[in-house]
Amino acid sequence: MYTYKSGIAQIDEASGGFDAGTNILILAPPMSAADQLAYALTKPVPGEYAIVLSTNERAAEVVDAFKVAGADKRFTGVIDAITKSSTPGITDTARLMFVSSPTDLTGIGIKFSNMVETIFEGNFADGETGLFPPPIRFCVNSISTLLMYRRLEVLYQFLHVLTAKLKKIEGVGVYILNSESFDEKTLSLIKQLMTCVIEVKVEQNINLMRIRGLSGVPGDWMKFSVSKGQVTILP
């Protein structure tokens, strides 16, 4: 089975990376570089694909962020839930798809399936490497926004289907949730869907994270920084 490298040397050395089918929750307060951390974990290495469901940024901004992080944009797809509300006439391409709003879970599910299908059929980008099943990193940025529009129970059921599907296709999922805006019940329900949780906090302007549920990696707080898609564990 395929193993997804985290790109963080210490973690990959200790655990080998994330097994196919892993769903990772990034639980982070605002202004804590959670987006950058999520994108760093989602950035596709050669032979892989990335799909980002963006409820906060336009597709162009996501693509730019991946480009800055050094990702090959040909292998990055975005499901944009922002742009269509202001530009209704915008049309889908193989790599950029649009849904009317973050409320539109029907559309989000369909676009995700369509994008995965395009990848499986080998029609996503030139220069396919032919790995099968194609390794796909999927990022939801963010569950917090989805929760603003849909009830927890509904979103839980929807994410349940999505995370199961990701396991089936042997992908890896990264989901961002604001740790300060929701009650314990919400956090614990969303955690139930995940196999690994990365908690992030900020102390004296220093980002710290600890990882739960990844074998071989101790659950201690580690200082880290993210720059140009590269996460560095600080001493």
């Binding site: 509300s85 049309t91 009317s100 409320t103 879970l105 369909i110 995700f112 399936s113 509904v154």
Partner: protein, 388 residues
């Protein structure tokens, strides 16, 4: 009657949806099934039936654009007799009333007013957000009450079904829906396999059917990607495939005994009753048996063709049946050449092949297109009634 816009489905329903019905298109998350509702809307508009489309999660402009993308230029929503209630209207109601009861009352009044002013015949509702806001019963009541005041109104609902079978049972049993169609996906018999299931029809006693489909040319196409036609050598498989197909290819070569024999695969493509079907005819010789499991791998049905005048073929045919039975797919037996003298008794064939009455046995002549069509029709019927 209103057409669903899918010929194969209309035929199953007995030419479409009766006026005044309640219809649910239940979408499993991730299944590209939005074209079902759009197709029905398009057909209603093409018949100049005044429609109300309720879309609380998007704007009219975004909807028009989506329809055009999914369905091509048709329907021209700018010219059609259609009224919209969209996300802008919904936000206005949300801001206007603080309690869910107040919002429901306001929405109900608004829907009734629109129905009255525009003499609406069919209401199309994107149900998710309303279901979440009011609960299934109260949300449905907003529209069924409009129906009760004006009996001819047909109600068509599309819903992202996160609740599963429970919801379907509820709308059938408690909300008296007339047609429930579940649009689903599966990873069996092959990945990303989409199908729709006719769960309930009030106006006809139909068996629950599951029909695979693909989306192509802006429409829903019922689709059977592979039916394997197999059997002993010289039983008439190639003749069957070629006679069944609109466009078929055989790769027969002259065998040592002087007759033609298949050395690779026969292919046949059929557009039949709006179904797209592909037939794979396998070679009959034992040396190709190792290939049969892979041909059967993603098949949705199989047909075993035997020569009804040749008892010597039966042990070999029985072996092939065992291989098919392992795949647990619908299959039938066609006793070919039954128009010739010396045809074996059907009872003897059943005993020799060890097949019970549940496996259909057809006495046919593969050179007669009507026989071939009959077998195909019965097999497709079995496939669509199979539980995936």
């Amino acid at each position: 009657m209103i057409s669903t816009g899918i010929n194969g489905l209309d035929e199953m329903l007995g030419s479409g949806i009766p006026d005044g019905s309640r219809i649910l298109y239940s979408l499993e998350p991730g299944v590209d099934g939005q074209l079902f509702m759009i197709s029905t809307l398009s057909c209603a508009l093409a018949k100049k039936r005044p429609c109300l489309v309720v879309l609380p999660n998007t704007t009219v402009d975004a909807f028009r654009n989506d329809v055009q993308r999914m369905y091509g230029a048709r329907p021209d929503l700018a010219l059609a007799p259609v009224t919209f209630f969209d996300s802008v209207d919904w936000e206005r109601i949300q801001k206007g009333s603080k309690s869910p009861e107040g919002r429901a009352r306001e929405l109900q009044a608004r829907i009734r007013k629109l129905c009255r002013e525009h003499d609406v015949d069919v209401i199309f509702v994107y149900f998710d957000l309303l279901n979440e806001e009011f609960g299934t019963d109260a949300a449905a009541a907003i529209f069924t009450s409009a129906q009760e005041r004006e009996k001819k109104i047909t109600l068509v609902i599309e819903h992202l079904n996160l609740e599963g079978e429970q919801l379907l049972d509820h709308v059938i049993r408690d909300l008296n829906f007339d047609l429930v169609l579940a649009i689903r996906s599966s990873f069996r018999p092959f990945p990303q396999f989409n199908y729709f299931t006719l769960v309930h029809t009030s106006w006809a006693d139909l068996p629950a059917r599951s029909v695979p489909f693909i989306i192509g040319e802006g429409r829903v196409i019922p689709y059977i990607p592979r039916i394997v036609v197999t059997g002993p050598a010289s039983s008439g498989k190639s003749t069957f495939v070629l006679n069944a197909a609109d466009d078929g290819h055989s790769v027969d070569r002259m065998a040592q005994e002087g007759s033609m024999t298949t050395v690779a695969l026969d292919f046949g493509w059929i557009r039949w009753k709006d179904f797209d079907i592909t037939l794979y005819g396998t070679p009959g010789q034992e040396r190709f048996d190792s290939l049969l499991p892979s041909y059967l791998g993603h098949a949705m049905g199989a047909l075993l063709v035997i020569d009804a005048t040749n008892a010597d073929q039966l042990p070999r045919a029985r072996l092939l049946i065992e291989m098919i039975a392992r795949r647990r797919i619908p299959f039938a037996v066609a006793a070919n050449k039954s128009d010739l003298p010396g045809t074996l008794d059907p009872g003897l064939i059943r005993r020799s092949l060890a097949i019970g009455d549940e496996i259909p046995l057809y006495q046919i002549s593969a050179i007669r297109k009507s026989d071939v069509n009959f077998v195909l029709e019965s097999l497709v019927d079995s496939i669509t009634q199979f539980r995936y």
